[in-house]
């Protein structure tokens, strides 16, 4: 893999990168992911 080949890969745009560290959105995602994981864990128990 070299950087020349970058065009072949999915890359996030600016807003996606921003949202990954935008605290209010991440707090919301923290809650959502936790609920999803807990649901999955309880299915597995």
């Amino acid at each position: 893999m070299t950087t020349k080949e970058k065009k072949y890969y999915l890359r996030p745009n600016k807003s996606t990168v921003f949202m990954r560290s935008f605290i209010p959105w991440q707090i919301y995602r923290f809650i959502v992911i936790n609920i999803k994981m807990l649901k999955m864990m309880f299915k597995s128990h």
């Binding site: 999915l10 996030p12 991440q26 995602r29 999955m40 597995s44």
Partner: protein
């Protein structure tokens, strides 16, 4: 009536969980003894952060004895070496022989009788499988807290060199074609990347992920088709995107054959051999089981009946040789019980999986380059708990149907951190359900797409950090520890 004796070999994720639950279910109705060589418990997933100097050994280790004292569980520092499931001709009571590892009685061998034995001895780190691999030779590891400390120290000294302008090549990945635990190497490469950026030396580093996976994001589970941004996305797309974004190169389908001080030689899936010059390498070893030499009551060795050639213990799985196309969810064990000796169990990494999960691949030279099946923390701990429950039911005379924990029914949450720090860390959060694809139940993707998803962001890092605290809290058996799911 004499109290039943439960012996647990190994105080890692699965064995320690089994011991705590066995005590919780049975209270004083059984004697529970844990035999394990180290004095400390290691929360292994956080070794990654030790390996990049974001945590120290004391954050991931704690002494086991006070926990076992409080819980009234016997603790012997030792390692199981021989197994007599039928006892001897004179005394037909099952026992193991263990070798003491504590300072006072190191090397002494003793018998320990049992009514139920749980083998939770985890992996034997088989650095010997590849010439030059491992901390005794040329590469680093993060498999133990001590290994991770050494990796972290070396990384730190390389960062200092790069600050002075030196250009270095850092290789992270798998040290053999049959390794497992790709998730850990994946996590480490991103943590190293973050550490290099934090120190403003990323431009001086060539960072390479070298793996036995045929595709990025295979993770030893044949890849994952996950719900991401409104699409069912193969995990290789997600992983390639992330590697490209961070400018991490990748070499796949590689079986590392030989490592010298400066060069890694590997065979690729097309049968060709290549070399790679490097300055720092963290390469995981392949895992083997810990063989307990097993004898019948006549003293004849029967290890082959109980263990597979790579020394994992056989349980209620379907071990008949099958083609990839014929693999089924039902091949995977449910109760982790040995078919010959019903009072013998193996959980976590110690049980023998029926086959890989990833599609098996060989080079034209006959070299196997296929990830072995991962048995991560969550399923390992669940196996420990359900085996403890089933043994407790037998001892208490409960007529409950036995609990099962097949990896073709269990889900797993994998959070691969991308750096540490509350306002700096990030992570790839992936859940898959089940771990082993079940195409009979989910014909399209092998997994339940509603609970198989992936996401990148800071929230994942917070979850990973929270899990570190919760799982160590649970392992210390603090108040209401059992409320925290595995």
């Amino acid at each position: 009536m004499e109290r039943k004796k439960i012996v647990i070999l190994g105080a890692g994720v699965s064995g320690h969980t089994a011991a705590l639950y066995a005590k919780k279910y049975l209270k004083d109705k059984a004697d529970i003894t844990v035999v394990s060589p180290e004095k400390d418990y290691n929360w292994i997933p956080s070794n990654i952060w030790v390996g990049v100097n974001q945590m120290s050994e004391s954050d991931v280790l704690f002494p086991l004895l006070p926990v076992y004292k409080k819980e009234e569980i016997n603790f012997i520092r030792g390692k199981g070496i021989e197994l007599y499931p039928e006892g001897t001709k004179d005394n037909q009571k099952s026992f193991i022989i263990y070798e003491a590892t504590d300072e006072k009685s190191k090397g002494e061998k003793n018998n320990l009788y049992y009514d139920y034995l749980i083998n939770a001895t985890g992996p034997k780190l088989n650095f010997g499988a590849t010439k030059g691999l491992g901390p005794d030779f040329h590469t680093y590891s993060v498999c133990t807290a001590n290994h991770a400390t050494h990796a972290g120290a070396k990384l730190k000294s390389h960062i200092e060199e790069m600050k002075k302008g030196k250009k270095l090549t850092l290789v992270i990945g798998m040290g053999h074609g049959t390794c497992t635990c790709e998730g850990a190497a994946f996590e480490y490469v991103f943590n190293v990347d973050t550490e290099l950026r934090r120190n403003n030396v990323r431009d001086n580093a060539r960072l390479i992920y070298l793996s036995n996976e045929a595709e990025l994001g295979d993770f030893g589970v044949d890849g994952i088709q996950l719900e991401m941004a409104g699409y069912i996305t193969p995990s290789n797309i997600m992983a390639e995107s992330l590697f490209t974004e961070q400018n991490i190169e990748w070499i796949l389908g590689a079986h590392v054959k030989n490592i010298t001080e400066t060069q890694i030689e590997y065979e690729s899936l097309d049968g060709s051999t290549s070399t790679l010059n490097y300055d720092f390498a963290m390469l995981l070893p392949p895992f083997q089981g810990h063989l307990l030499k097993t004898f019948n009551k006549d003293g004849v060795e029967i290890s082959e009946q109980i263990f597979t050639p790579n020394q994992f213990m056989k349980v209620d799985a379907d071990y008949s040789a099958k083609k990839y196309q014929d693999w089924k969810a039902s091949d995977w064990p449910k109760y982790y019980q040995n078919p010959t000796y019903k009072n013998l169990f193996a959980v976590g990494i110690a049980f023998a999986p029926p086959h890989q999960i990833s599609e098996p691949r060989k080079t034209i030279n006959g070299t196997v380059i296929t990830p072995s099946p991962p048995r991560t923390g969550m399923p390992s701990a669940i196996m420990g708990r359900i085996v403890a429950r089933n043994i407790a039911d037998q001892i208490l005379g409960n007529n409950n149907p036995p609990r099962s924990a097949s990896m073709a029914e269990l889900g797993a949450a994998c959070i691969a951190s991308i750096g540490a720090g509350f306002t700096k860390g990030s992570a790839v959060s992936i859940t898959m359900n089940p771990i082993v694809p079940n195409f009979e139940k989910y014909p399209e993707t092998g997994r339940d797409i509603k609970s198989t998803f992936g996401e990148i962001g800071r929230a994942g890092h917070w979850i990973k950090r929270l899990l570190h605290t919760l799982f160590i809290y649970k392992a210390k058996a603090k108040l209401f520890w059992w409320i925290i799911p595995e």
